[in-house]
Symmetry: C2
Subunit: 183 residues, 2 copies
């Protein structure tokens, strides 16, 4: 069965600072039409930065939409059209103060497939030189370090619930097992 839905019409709903919303009329596979709301977002990156002791840099910050503090791998939004590796190399320095080396692209992650264009490129890197943290003007976060086992324990006991962090932790363990080498 061909599942594609084609846009027939598109209406701008909102053009904001970090997201836009549009509402399309889509042509369904059976010839009927249906409304489709879409959150437009340029996409982002997540970066798992591992130090020489096998610990990963984690950022803890207030997540406004969730009304709570969350602990996550460092992440950031792409500038429009930016290559994700460029974003990753910039964001890891800004959030942790350390450069990343030997970046491995773990894959892409679609956080919200039902109504959002966002795609997150997932990277795994090794800690390089200390260059100094440089946060955005309205960004407040605490940086800690956790082993992969501590992160996976946090996922299983519910204290870590950010989707990219869950995906990256397990994908890194799987990657390490499959390549069977120290990164």
């Amino acid at each position: 069965m061909d599942l594609e839905e084609k846009a027939l019409e598109s209406t701008r709903i909102y053009d904001g600072a970090i997201l836009n919303v549009r509402k399309d009329i889509a042509l369904l596979p059976d010839g009927r039409t249906a409304p489709r709301e879409v959150v437009e977002h340029p996409g982002g990156v997540g970066i798992a930065l591992e130090d020489e002791e096998g610990k990963f840099f984690m950022v803890t910050q207030w997540r406004y939409g969730q009304r709570k503090v969350m602990t996550e791998f460092p992440a950031g939004k792409k500038e429009k059209g930016e290559e994700p590796l460029v974003t990753a190399k910039r964001e890891i320095i800004e959030e942790t103060g350390y450069e990343g080396l030997d970046f491995v692209h773990l894959g892409k992650l679609v956080p919200t497939p039902a109504y959002d264009e966002e795609v997150i490129d997932l990277y795994y890197a090794r800690k390089g030189r200390k260059l100094g943290q440089h946060l955005d003007d309205d960004e407040y976060l605490n940086v800690t370090r956790m082993s992969l086992n501590e992160i996976i324990d946090g996922i299983m006991n519910g204290t870590i619930d950010d989707a990219k962090t869950v995906a990256m932790a397990f994908m890194i363990r799987e990657y390490k097992e499959r390549t069977n080498e120290e990164h």
Copy 2:
């Protein structure tokens, strides 16, 4: 450091069919203010339904915001205020035609912490009676079955990239290892 950001003002931007958007002015920890855009969403569930051969029901559907077909664990949106287990029991029948038994709550997942309220409750269940698929009027999907190893291979080779599906597959493998029992 206290990281909490408190809402000072809130402006309705859009009230839609599957999502709303508001724009708040937030009080930052240092006393300054900043705009915060929030996608409002009632939350949803993901359900991994395992048959007697250890294979999981997967749904393949067109994802409009991503402009591609994606293969995912069955999922659905909560009615406002609905208990997630109620949603899960309904959605698994609607999408696969089978009831779920012995539901295990794997945890909660936050797909998009930066700007979205959505939380997904993740469930693992055993296949029960065949009751018949019942899709929404504008919902088209194909149902297949995959082993956990096939799903994890798909994640690592990039053909499966839905965040809840990635999280659930690895969490189920971890859950099976930790409980060391057939579910």
